[in-house]
Amino acid sequence: MAEALVTVECSVNGARCREWVEPRLLLSDFLRHRLGLTGTHVGCEHGVCGACTVRVGGRPTRSCLMFAVQADGEEIETVEGLAGDTGLTPLQRALHEAHALQCGFCTPGILIAAGDLLERRPDATRTEIKAMLSGHLCRCTGYKPIVDAIELVARERA
């Protein structure tokens, strides 16, 4: 079946964009290949590894499990939008301090998901943090420093 192109008009990290896309274009590929935002990483492309996690309309989302056309009219937040003029966010700083990244492939997805968790559950427990992290594969760290870093931010805020 021939695919008609469809438009997607959305805001990514506060910048408006409008593109014609094939309906089957995944949001992850849209962000990386159309907009050049390669901070969103693509690992498994079936929702298991968590590397491509972004926020769409304020909800954490696997960008490989959403079509770009579905983001029409939405506000999207990616890892590129986290650090502002004032430097790293507290969570980014904590990951750095705790040696919670080595190769960095999983880090963008974890920053988005952990940031979302801390926003909804500012006093998240270690158990909650671990349950959230079960959706993010990291092959370098063994996870403990990542849990420590997120917990550090939660305790600082509490």
Binding site: R59, P60, A113, A131, G135
Partner: protein, 285 residues
């Protein structure tokens, strides 16, 4: 891993979605949260010609208790329902297992039921509690009990032009208790086996019981042998253990990479005993 080409349609109303389903029938797939459908499309195990996106359809996002049942709109997400206070105990226990933190923010209750994943937590819980789905098509509306809904792996009794608009979850009344338990290798992964239970206790006797097991067959199963072991028994450890043993004896299980059929049968029995124990405690409370 890129999906095959398809035509994209977006419904704004239930009627609009029903028109699209009537028009495209078997060629179409409904897209709600997409947390099960899109992986299958990425792997090209599912190749619909038409995708009907219902995520913006209004009126499918409500949750309300009504006449002893919780009515849950088809587009309510797993995370929304889980964070809502005062939901049924078994439902509260099963929701955190339905996926990972991020996928639960998109995955919908209606979608999980329609997808009929054999290892799915929500299909098992709906079946065990005796719930149902309200479905609509252009030719009308009907309520389908869970027992008539799940036919096999990823297969329901819905026709291609029907859409689930809400699911109905019986709430525990006086003397009743519900529970859900499961074991997975990692939180949020597919389960090795799961169990759910609903009991009613009166004058220190189990009056009625429903026991269900998941991930041991091509669809969630009720275990009438476990019900027989429970009904008329005195609530307590013996009853829970007998229900578990009856389950292990009754089911066949299957082998895969993660567990043998024998292990699954034994595990299902252990989980049933746990679910019964917990449901009985709640019935007592």
């Amino acid at each position: 891993m890129k999906p095959a080409p398809f035509a994209y349609t977006r419904a704004e109303t239930v009627e609009g979605a029903l028109d699209l389903l009537a028009e495209h029938g078997n060629e179409a797939r409904v897209l709600a949260g997409g947390q099960s459908l899109v992986p299958l499309m990425n792997m090209r195990r599912v190749r619909p010609n038409v995708v009907v996106d219902i995520t913006r359809v209004g009126g499918l996002s409500g949750v309300a208790a009504d006449d002893g049942r919780l009515r849950v709109g088809a587009l309510v997400t797993q995370y929304e329902l889980e964070r809502r206070g005062g939901i049924d105990a078994a439902l509260a226990e099963c929701l955190p297992y339905t996926g990972h933190y991020v996928t639960r923010h998109r995955g919908t209750i209606g979608g999980s039921i329609a997808h009929a994943e054999p290892r799915g937590e929500l299909p098992l819980t709906l079946l065990t509690l005796g719930g149902s789905a309200r479905v609509r098509s252009r030719s009308g509306e009907r309520e389908v009990p869970a027992e008539e809904l799940f036919l096999g792996a990823y297969e329901t009794s819905l026709t291609p032009d029907e859409l689930i608009v809400e699911t109905l979850w019986p709430l525990a009344g006086d003397g009743e208790g519900h529970a859900f338990v499961e074991l997975a290798q990692r939180h949020g992964d597919f389960t090795l086996a799961s169990a759910a239970c609903s009991v009613r206790v009166e004058h220190d006797q189990i009056r009625s019981a429903r026991v269900g097991v998941g991930a041991v067959a091509e669809r969630p199963l009720l275990v009438p042998e476990a019900t027989r072991a429970l009904e008329g028994a005195t609530p307590g450890e013996d009853a829970a253990r007998c229900a578990g043993e009856a389950t292990t004896d009754a089911i066949t299980g299957y082998d895969d990479l993660h567990a043998s059929a024998a292990y699954r049968r034994r595990l299902a029995g252990v989980l049933v005993a746990q679910a019964v124990r917990r449901a009985l405690e709640r019935a007592d409370g």
